[in-house]
Each structure stands twice: as C-alpha cells, then as structure tokens.
C-alpha cells in the first residue's frame, strides 16, 4: 500500500484543491473571480482552500489594483508544479498497477 500512494500529496486529497491546481497548471495566472467561476464556490470556501495551498508554498499570490479595485492573482510556484506533477504520476502509477 505504501508504494501505491507514493507521490500522492495529501493537499490534493480535496477535489477543490486539485481543481485549483489544474486550472493554474494551464494558465500563467488567474484572478480570484475566474477561479470562483470555474469551481463554482463561495468566496469564503475558495479563500480557505487557496490559503491552504499557499501555506504549502504550492501557489503564489500577486496583488495589484485595477483602477481602485484590488485584484488578486494566483499562480503556481515551481514547488507547486513539481508537487502537482508528482501527484499526476502517482495517480497514473496507481491506476496502472490495478489493471
């Protein structure tokens, strides 16, 4: 069982966090509202998942202003790219091993 879960990161157990990482994997940067629309979440729910990923150092935050409105953009860190990649490889191995 230990070999099977190699590479699978606990932070990605949640499908919402997996979704955030997937969206950021194919976009250089995404703002809060775009992520909210893709994942169909409430502000608070999305914010808490983003915080968790930020804590793991998987995503970075860039704050700026559009006019007077604050605009927060998220991007994947190199660490995040690595972890997400490992997670995908882990999933692949897991499914192959069970065939």
């Amino acid at each position: 069982m230990k070999i099977l879960i190699e590479g699978l990161h606990k932070a990605f157990e949640s499908r919402i966090r997996l979704g955030i990482m997937s969206a950021l994997a194919v976009n250089d940067m995404l703002d809060f509202n775009s992520l909210k629309e893709y994942l169909d979440l409430t502000d608070g729910n999305l914010a808490s998942h983003l915080k968790a990923l930020e804590k793991e150092n998987f995503i970075g935050v860039k704050k700026s202003f559009v006019g007077k409105k604050p605009n927060t953009k998220y991007f994947m860190t190199t660490e995040g790219v690595q972890a997400f990649d490992d997670h995908l490889k882990g999933l692949e191995r897991l499914i192959k091993s069970q065939k």
């Binding site: 499908r15 997996l18 997937s22 994997a25 194919v26 995404l30 775009s34 629309e37 893709y38 499914i95």
Partner: protein
Amino acid sequence: MKKEKDYIQDIAEIRSMMERSSKFLSLSGWAGIMAGIYALAGALAAYKIYDFNPGTIGNSINSENSSYPDLYFIVLLALIILILALGTAVYVSYRAANKREEKLWNTTSKRLLMNMTIPLIAGGILILILISKGMIAYVPPISLLFYGLALYSGGNFTYQEVRVMGLVQICLGLISSYFVEYGLIFWALGFGVIHIIYGIYMQYKYEK
C-alpha cells in the same frame, strides 16, 4: 483512504478543469451555419442585384471612370452581413454559455477574442486602404486571408476545429489572390460554404 474509482474521478476532474479554464467552449455550430447562410445570401444579392464582380473592377483601376456607382451599397451589404453574423454568434454563444452554466464574458472568451481581434483589425484597415485606392479585386482574397489568420490564432483557445477552418480560409485566400477574377465565388465559398460545413460538423460532433 480513497478508492480506485475516486482516483479515476480525480483524473477526469483534472482534465475537465484544464480544458474549461484554458478553452472557450460555449460555441455552437449554429453560429457557423447561420453566418454561412447570410454570406451566401449576401454574395448572391451582390451578384444578382448589382451585377457586382470585384475582379472586373480591379482590372480597370487605371481608368478614371472606374468608380463603381453601387460600391456604397456593396459595402453596406457587407456590413449588414457582418453585423448579422456577429450578432448571431454572440446570441448563440450566450445561450450555449447559459446551458453550460458559464458566463459568456470570462477569462477564456476574452483571450479568444483578443487573439482574433488583432489580425481582424489589421486586415480590416488594409481592406479600407485597398478600397480607397480602388483595388477592389483584392478585397475578397485579403478578407479571407486575414479571417483565416484570426481563426488560426484564436483556435488555440477554443475547439481545435476552428484552427483547421482557419487554415482552409488562409488557403482559399491565397488561391483567390491569384485568380482575382473569381473573387466573389471564392468569397462565397470561404465565408458561405466553409462556414456551413464547419457548423454542421460541429453540431453533429458536439451536440447529440
């Protein structure tokens, strides 16, 4: 501990999220079919009512009396077709987006539009210059060519088929710039027939 089924679902989720967040998929084949019908009707009207053939005008650019009395009507007709086609595309996409529970104006649609707008504006300005110089014969090939470039560059951000249609339009544009006397036929082929074929194909492939 998750089960195997959950991991397969995870992968499906990853795939769908990557696609949804990088491509604008609220397009419908109907937009293509309708645009094609407008274009064919317009080309037929230009040919039947005004006896318009851009090739023959281009050949007489040197003579002073080559000014074409109905040119304004042709430009007006072209504008009406453009507005109808764009209006239909926006309306159909709006409905498709609603059905997918997405917004029409989001990151992916903005990106798609940006990538199409730049070649279209460049082509549009070139066409205005050509008209002002009396080189009407080159308007159909250039419009096909730049429309094809716009589709090709926008195709990165939506269904792959749009890129293929872009390549077809580019080829038609290049061929018709050699056979300028058949400009109207090529124009009807590109904006009419190709749109309809694309629309039917998309409708057949993506809507059950």
